[in-house]
């Protein structure tokens, strides 16, 4: 979340899309209710189904699954056409005035400039700012489409290394009149001019009048140029789990920048994380392509630390008249301190801080790819802790087949689950079981109430929790298990050597109880400490060697500091665990609670809060004062911690988005699949893309190629759109083991529109069979009025929805009361090209009576 849970209460307008907070985040949803009750805020919900969130909304629109960009693009078009943009904000705080390089081409035919069909990737050379300084009023005849796209590669070109991302010119060209045809604003305007209300209706199935109602309502916060009101966008995995998931979120970010809603209390773009500590997992690099604190992973081209640091440290870009903080210019300090935390005394200046110990990530190791690799036989074993990999999918059957081929599997869990018992999955006969030679080790782990430690919530708060109950029986803490495995592996390396034992032998393991490190030891290491006496030249404050660091501003790139994750620096200082604070004072009434736990970065509750003020440093809305410029003190001060260079006066015109090298909110970004989001159809879609029928899907999305990976079409009879979700009564897959949850929704079901049920002769509670190109799922019919038939480009279409939860282990399953199939056998293995998240939220099926 750019903002936080409590901050939703400050909103005047709320758009919930790709999420169902009332059901999946009921405790956080209280702040939506609070905004409605206290501020008369309006809630717009856009979803394929009328959910329990929609039940409390002021306006609900039923959208075809996977057409969110078309809807949001339509909102952008409406905002521009109806002059609901935040003009000063847009001009000064975003990249709207910056000129884009010549040769850049919009995707009228489905392709941006630079597509290379052979590698199915883009050469992003033209996706960049142009050089040249102030071009205001110097509009030239050149148009965005001038000439042929020069970067279009021929399909016969030999495949080669991935195209490097473009380097931003230091002196970018810009036009403060926003009239230049190649300025970001004009290109954006042109891009979304195609997303007319009529086009939105044809693609999304949302009738034009309803779309216009929603567009008028959401953008009404900026009616008549008023800057006081604020709107928020709230989303969850209904946006991320698409082959264009990252781009949906970007569309929302662009809309919010156009409306001047980012950085403001009650605004922002707010991701609701699906687990109490998923934010923490991401921050601590629970993904293959980042290190803790979102530092980029080294790749094989990084021949030494300097090459690596030069590649990952952005250069400051200052359009004339602008100042830019470029906070990521501190990357070397974060990286060296991280390496000191990893390798301790073994990381020295002389050995490049042991940079060569870090693995160089040479390929995609994302979730779906791991299973694909195991299916293909190159991954031989797996540790599965705290997740049910078989049930998660994206293709559960493929995952089961993959595990059959593995040599070993270690599962750390609190219940037997579908993963640890993959060899017992329905359809495997006793004879076949005998042929499965995967060795499965089941390790009983501790449940959430049996361990301490901090969890990082969606609002970026690190909150410490204590142990509530002791671990039962032989169950052990995760860190106990992991530490013992690590230390024993290290013993083996010591005894037997190996190809490259150094990273293992030199890992820094300074914990008080090495075989079962305490999480407080780890939390202190993550915060960071001084390895030598440090002095702040400005304040003369001294941090002695061995002391905890007060925050990331103290990090050094000379090896005198150690820090496991720079973003978390400040969470456990000499004053103690900030994560354990429980102060409830809130002097501003805005719900910042600065003394409750600790929020990254630097205990800020709302990110980019410089943008909550006008150019002079005064809050846009005097009733929601986050920070402001104090002329007497010559400092930014306020009710929240300023997310800005504290002493940069407004006259210096420093950009408020200090993590971007140019300091501006980006409306134009070089992701892998396009600098502006474009509507593409899900990989399985019943219709051609109406914007460019010859290029329906995103051209950079690659299908997987094993025999398990089949993709269906409407022509083959897969003519019903299907989406998946969780219910409030359940939690992922493990509440199958809790009687209370099971009782509330006892059986798997499929939500089916009344009209479709009538056509197929299906009554409520009948058993139905849902079949995709990959597999089938059997459950009871839930015939509902809450999903209506849709008209897509003149054709009648149906959507159905199926909740995840059931499988073949659990109370009902063990008693033989469930169908024992796993929903994610239906879903396709195909992923977003930026975040590599599988497409669970829109695929094709057949529906029939079972």
């Amino acid at each position: 979340m750019t903002n936080g849970w409590i901050d939703i209460k400050n909103a005047d307008m709320m758009l919930v899309m790709g999420g169902n907070p009332a059901e999946n985040h009921p405790c956080g949803f209280k702040w939506v209710i609070e905004a409605k009750r206290q501020r008369n805020a309006k809630l717009i919900v856009v979803d394929p189904r009328l959910t329990r969130t929609a039940a409390t909304s002021d306006l609900f629109l039923q959208i075809r699954a996977g057409t969110d960009i078309a809807f949001l693009g339509g909102l952008i078009n409406y905002t521009i056409q109806n002059n609901r943009i935040a003009k000063d904000y847009l001009l000064n705080y975003t990249s709207a005035p910056i000129l884009v390089k010549e040769g850049f081409k919009l995707p009228e035919d489905g392709f941006y400039s630079g597509f290379d069909p052979a590698s199915q990737t883009y050469d992003r050379n033209t996706w960049n700012y142009a050089e040249g300084g102030d071009m205001s009023g110097k509009a030239v005849a050149a148009t965005a489409q001038a000439g042929d796209p020069p970067q279009q590669k021929s399909s016969t070109a030999a495949p080669k290394a991935p195209f490097p991302p473009p380097l931003m010119p230091e002196k970018v060209a810009y036009d403060l009149t926003l009239q230049h045809p190649r300025c970001v604003f004009q290109l954006l305007k042109q891009q979304y001019s195609r997303y007319t209300p009529e086009m939105v209706e044809r693609i999304t199935g949302i009738p034009k009048d309803q779309f216009l109602k929603a567009a008028d309502l959401f953008t009404s916060v900026r009616k008549d140029g008023d800057m006081k009101k604020v709107g928020t966008v709230i989303y969850a995995v209904g946006w991320t789990q698409h082959t264009f998931g990252t781009q949906i979120i970007r569309t929302a970010a662009m809309l919010q920048l156009l409306l001047g809603n980012v950085g403001r209390a009650g605004g922002g773009v707010n991701a609701l994380r699906g687990h109490s500590n998923i934010q923490g997992a991401t921050d601590m690099a629970g993904v293959f392509d980042s290190l803790p604190g979102y530092l980029k992973v080294p790749d094989p081209t990084d021949k030494d630390f300097k090459t690596y640091i030069d590649r990952i440290t952005p250069k400051t870009v200052k359009p004339a008249g602008w100042d830019s903080f470029n906070y990521y210019s501190n990357t070397p300090k974060f990286a060296v301190s991280f390496l000191k935390a990893m390798y301790g005394p073994a990381a020295t200046k002389e050995n490049d801080w042991a940079f060569h110990y870090l693995p160089k990530v040479d390929r995609n190791y994302s979730w779906a790819q791991i299973w694909d690799n195991m299916y293909r036989g190159s991954v031989k074993g797996m540790f599965a802790f705290g997740m049910n990999g078989v049930a998660i999918g994206p293709d559960s059957q493929k995952n089961i087949e993959a595990l059959k081929k593995a040599d070993w599997l270690v599962v750390g869990e609190i219940y037997p689950d579908e993963t640890s018992e993959f060899w017992k999955s329905p359809g495997i006969k006793p004879e076949e079981m005998k042929t499965i030679n995967t060795t499965v080790y089941r390790l009983p782990c501790a449940g959430f109430a049996e361990k301490d430690g901090s969890m990082t919530n969606s609002a970026r708060w690190l909150q410490w929790k204590n142990v509530a109950v002791p671990t039962p029986g032989e169950a052990r803490l995760d860190q106990d298990i992991v530490a013992q495995i690590f230390l024993r592996v290290r013993e083996l390396y010591k005894k037997e050597g190996g190809k490259f034992p150094d990273p293992i032998l030199n890992s820094w393991w300074p914990y008080t109880t090495p075989y079962n490190p305490s999480l407080s030891d780890l939390a202190k290491e993550i915060n960071g400490k001084a390895l030598a006496d440090l002095t702040d030249p400005k304040t003369a404050q001294v941090i002695k060697a061995g002391q905890q660091l007060p925050g990331f501003a103290w990090l050094k790139d000379d090896g005198t500091t150690l820090c496991g994750n720079w973003l978390y620096s400040g969470s456990w200082t000499e004053a103690g665990a900030m994560t354990q604070r429980r102060g409830t004072d809130d002097p501003s009434g805005l719900g910042f609670y600065l003394n409750w736990a600790w929020s990254w970065p630097a205990n800020r509750r709302g990110m980019y809060n410089r943008a909550s003020c006008d150019l002079q440093g005064k809050p846009w809305d005097p009733s929601r004062r986050q920070i402001w410029w104090d002329e007497a003190k010559q400092l930014w001060v306020g009710n929240d911690v300023p997310d800005f260079k504290a002493d940069s006066p407004p006259k210096d015109h420093m950009g408020p988005f200090i993590m971007n090298q140019e300091g501006l909110g980006r409306l134009f970004v070089w992701l892998n699949d396009g600098p502006f989001p474009e509507h593409y159809e899900p990989i399985e879609s019943p219709v051609q893309n109406l914007l460019h029928p010859n290029q329906s899907n995103s051209p950079v999305v690659k299908k997987f190629k094993t025999p398990a990976d089949k993709y269906g079409t409407a022509a083959e009879g897969f003519n019903v759109i299907c989406t998946t979700y969780r219910l409030t009564e359940h939690y992922h897959y493990w509440t199958k083991n809790n009687p209370m949850n099971v009782q509330l929704i006892p059986e798997p079901f499929v939500e089916i529109p009344v009209e479709l049920a009538q056509e197929l002769g299906i009554q409520g509670n009948d058993k139905v069979k849902v079949t995709s190109a990959r597999s089938y799922y059997i459950a009871k019919a839930f015939v509902t009025k809450r999903i209506k038939p849709m008209t897509i480009d003149g054709k009648k279409m149906y959507q159905i929805g199926i909740p995840i939860h059931q499988g073949y282990r659990g109370i009902q399953e063990d008693a033989g009361r469930d169908a024992r199939t796993i929903l994610n056998r239906l879903t396709p293995t195909v992923v977003d090209p930026n975040a590599f998240t599988p497409e669970f939220k829109g695929f094709l099926v057949k529906l029939e009576k079972a």
Binding site: D58, G764, T784, K785
Partner: protein, 299 residues
């Protein structure tokens, strides 16, 4: 606040005791703002856990609703209804169903067992199962179909308003569990005011021009009140009666018929007395088994 905890004097405190002498009605009340209910069923689970009921086997029935009706061991049920509006749009209505704790409780009126149903001064209507004779007249007496019979113990059960919690200064378990604050607990006056404010806000600020407060006069008002989007159509919220009343037969039985019965009994006694005066005692020699009678009185 119970009068026993009303502050009379404060040590070292200059001047008058704040609030001294002020009298407050402490009728208790639950306010259920149906317009902010998200159907999460936290109240259902809290009710089960506080009252010590565990897992019941349920069956999916074309709904998110846990079971079709409340049960003797399931007192709190969210009712889900898909309502088709006049413009063709659908509303998903979710209403927490439980005992309404009527000011004029039909169950209590109907109950013939001494002490099986009590109404406390704070408005809570509570069943005392040790006195229940299992006649189920209360079931007939309730216009909301709340009391439920347990065939194995032959007793009737329903929501107690967590009288065990409330009497110890705590809110009912369902209120405590509610994540959105759609459930409120306080005095009837305060809840009524809060409810009316919310209904007015809905009428003025949203499209719910018929929003209102459900506190039906037919049962003397209730200690569980609702804010509804549409006060004109309470039936659409899973059969909430528009004008609930204590059933006519119960009224008749416990009113005129009871009176009539009393008179009949009195007249009977009077008749017997006159008969005695007129004809004297009956000859004991003509009766059979007087010893049995005596035994019975002894035992």
């Amino acid at each position: 606040m119970p009068p026993t905890l009303e502050i009379k004097a404060i040590s070292g405190h200059a001047g008058t005791v704040p609030g001294h002498g002020a009298s407050r009605d402490y009728d208790v009340c639950k306010l259920i703002d149906v317009t902010t209910c998200i159907g999460c069923k936290a109240c259902e689970v809290a009710c089960l856990e506080w009252n010590g009921y565990s897992f019941t086997e349920t069956v999916f029935d074309n709904s998110y609703q846990t079971m079709p009706e409340t049960a003797w061991n399931y007192w709190n049920l969210i009712r889900f209804n898909e309502h088709e509006n006049s413009d063709g749009s659908i509303s998903l209505l979710m209403r927490k169903d439980q005992c309404m704790h009527c000011a004029d409780p039909g169950c209590l009126r109907a109950c013939p067992a001494d002490g099986a149903i009590v109404q406390y001064a704070n408005g809570i209507v509570d069943f005392h199962q040790e006195n229940c004779i299992g006649c189920q007249y209360c079931v007939t007496g309730c216009p909301f179909d709340i009391p439920k019979f347990n065939p194995s113990t032959k007793k009737v059960f329903k929501c107690t308003f967590c009288s065990d919690r409330v009497s110890n200064g705590l809110e009912p378990a369902c209120i405590k569990a509610c994540p959105t604050g759609c459930l409120h607990f306080g005095s009837k006056d305060d809840m009524k005011e809060l409810a009316e404010q919310r209904a007015a806000q809905l009428r003025e600020q949203t499209s719910h021009k018929d929003a209102g407060v459900y506190d039906p006069a037919g049962v003397g008002g209730t200690h569980v009140i609702y804010v509804l989007h549409d006060i004109k159509n309470p039936e659409m919220y899973g059969g909430l009666p528009a004008n609930p009343r204590v059933p006519f037969l119960v009224k008749l039985w416990k009113g005129p018929v009871k009176l009539l019965g009393g008179w009949a009994m009195f007249l009977g006694v009077v008749g017997v007395a006159i008969h005695y005066l007129r004809f004297g005692p009956k000859d004991a020699g003509h009766t059979t088994g007087p010893e049995d009678k005596d035994d019975r009185t002894k035992s």
